[in-house]
Symmetry: C2
Subunit: 496 residues, 2 copies
Amino acid sequence: MNSYEDLCSLAREISLIHSTASVLGWDQETYMPPKSLDHRARQVAYLSAKAHALATSADFRSLLEKAEPEATATEPTQAANLREWRYELERAARIPTALVAEESEVTSHAKHAWVESRKRSDFTLFAPHLTRVLEIARRKAALWGFKDEPYDALLLGYERGATTSAVASLFAELKPQLATIARKAVEQSAGIPKDLLHGDYPVEKQQQLNREIAESLGFDFEAGRIDTTAHPFCTTLGPGDVRLTTRYDSEDFTSSLFGVLHEAGHGLYEQGLPPADFGLPSGTAVSLGIHESQSRLWENHVGRSESFWQKWLPRAAELFPNLQKIAPSDFLKSIHRSEFSFIRVESDEATYDLHILLRFELERRLLNGSLEVAEVPKAWNEAFEGLFGLTPPDDAHGCLQDIHWSMGGLGYFATYTLGNLNAAQLFQEAVSRPEIASGVDRAEYQPLLKWLRQRIHAKGSEQHPADLMRSATGRPTESAPYLRHLRGRFGETLHA
Amino acid sequence: MNSYEDLCSLAREISLIHSTASVLGWDQETYMPPKSLDHRARQVAYLSAKAHALATSADFRSLLEKAEPEATATEPTQAANLREWRYELERAARIPTALVAEESEVTSHAKHAWVESRKRSDFTLFAPHLTRVLEIARRKAALWGFKDEPYDALLLGYERGATTSAVASLFAELKPQLATIARKAVEQSAGIPKDLLHGDYPVEKQQQLNREIAESLGFDFEAGRIDTTAHPFCTTLGPGDVRLTTRYDSEDFTSSLFGVLHEAGHGLYEQGLPPADFGLPSGTAVSLGIHESQSRLWENHVGRSESFWQKWLPRAAELFPNLQKIAPSDFLKSIHRSEFSFIRVESDEATYDLHILLRFELERRLLNGSLEVAEVPKAWNEAFEGLFGLTPPDDAHGCLQDIHWSMGGLGYFATYTLGNLNAAQLFQEAVSRPEIASGVDRAEYQPLLKWLRQRIHAKGSEQHPADLMRSATGRPTESAPYLRHLRGRFGETLHA
């Protein structure tokens, strides 16, 4: 199997370059001094170009062509790697270099325009850039090809095997029920003071608690760390190097902690991928919708549960004396408190998906041509009012709030809600096993993590997301477990 | 001048790769989790191989061959860049790839053996590795060629234009005088308690003071930062990105501070190189002996002076209350306190160079073949006794203390003392200007930094070190200014 092994070597070389760019990216967000920005951009662009050239090289293609007929059905990992490489290569090959360069140029300007446009809350500044970004996205979709609509082709870049119509059906089913749950959660939260947990939370003590908790979930600090950034993220710098970040509010420890729980969920997935397959599809996370399922599972199903806080509230109260006067039931009410927000990233578990549904529908219409760029603010505000009963005061609190479109990230938002659905479905399946459920009840998560490792993490990209969900839970992604979870949490009582 | 410009582009590409490897190296020493070590080594090796291949490529050679005859005398920077590229290319070309690989293999084993050997204080473990390292160094020296002795060829790798005989003459002149100064300094220090400054120095307050001081010297924190490592260093990640590190002793603030002063001296040099020439010889520090002059100038001539502490001791005493009971004259005595140490890196200003002279002589004899590897411990101890009047208790405190030989760094040590000589000579020249002297008297260093920027930093590698010293001070490197400085500090009174 010489050509397959050569292909693996080439893929590992490409991943060595990508993982080097990840070190540069991590440093840029955490510690890099400001005057380094231009040089850093040159370093990253250089590595990206080298990796892209190798991934689309004649060598790669010819090795793949030799390896494919040699593959045997008895080697499922090998077959999956060949399948993924073929897919990525064809996808990359259909986009001419000139279009890659044009997109890079257009999104670079679009990002600057978006920053300015949002600052002034003036959509007309951003509109011509969005038009150009959209036009490029449509051209790419046409080059890639699609069955029903352009959104299909974009979505596949984030979620292999997914179709717009299947996502749309799921979302249509969710929409009225989510709206009802959200309204009820917000109503029931009216009596919970917003600042109940407000107090003095020294950053070093938050760091200590976050670390203890991340360790108790199974995050390996010999193969990872937590740093501070403006926006939390998780990035993988190598098979033994997964870095999380969070941000600190010295008056509210839950801000950094839920950031860490979310990012540690991503990090546990990355740490659970087969290290020997690093750089191969079989050693790579399969999709954003599966990745987000891991972060949301640990953040919401574990981290906002009663059993979790039975264990951790006493410890938190040792570090933060002002928690000592707060009853556990009040604490839970506080972290389940819900309110409508104009801003997606400030929204809570009960209201979050409504923001996603809105974006999914608008993007789909933009790509289909049934919505003009100039009409986006009006369409956004109408949709928002329909979902939330509120009208954004300005476009900065409406259609200008997210960076994604300016970066060309059309087709991406849907994966956030797919992640929530997958999280609930996986968690429900896991806790149907008595040994996992009893661990979760005692805030001991080794059995849960072990199950996720076997069913999800160890699989890399061997199966498409729908098949992975099917093999882990018996069903493809569906809405019932998530709705059940939300109703349980925001239904009759606030923390059932 | 097309080929010259193409050559510049290629050189910038190489430096883009090197500077990326520097980010990886910095991260490895500061924040990288331990399980990342293997992958990081692969990333660095990959980049090093790519950079080496470009620097020794047929492209580089043919561009250089085209550019050289086109160069004109009216472009001194261009001429200097071509001269340096030619030199580096010929030097690299004379070493066969197989020897590079062999050296990498041999030193990799030698480093492991050295660690173990030092731990057990058993030279016989390290001896066979040192023999192999030495043999490779001799072969390299023979391939590079030399006029008088093999040490010449190795020294040129660190100090362009230097000769062993010139260094040996300087060191021979220094030796008896340094020995006298050191003995006197140690005698006079007998009455100064070792733990006079001992106290409680919280790390965050040390960091604050270090930063204030580094800023006051002119270090630009928009283009740099200070982190924590086991061994202090300075590394350049790009034209606007110079990173210092230091280590903290919570019972002695001077440990981290003098580390920062030393590394900030290196950092000010790097920040003062012409940023537009980053990656070209004209934008690169010229030699280790000049680099070390900058670190020692700020550490010792500035940072251990009376005027410096007239300004900074009151500020330090605000941050560290236990300094309030210490008289300024006692404080100065403390930081000028001298004692003989077996270990070079723990030695002080008055005794440091004796350690270097010893190593220079032994290395030279090893390379000449007049000293056998097996005789090193005996030769070391005899030389040590001759210089210090003491015999090392074991080889861990003698010939096994430094990592340099295990890494193949023969010919390197001499540059430390060259740095001390250059520092004194540059400082003496600078303060002969009244505006610089009066600034220094008030602990205001902008005039001094401006002078160093013009005379040293802005020059990059345009001139060889000896010519650079001549153009800055009127004389090549000599011993008188340094001896004068040491006698002033450790002569009649301890802090004259």
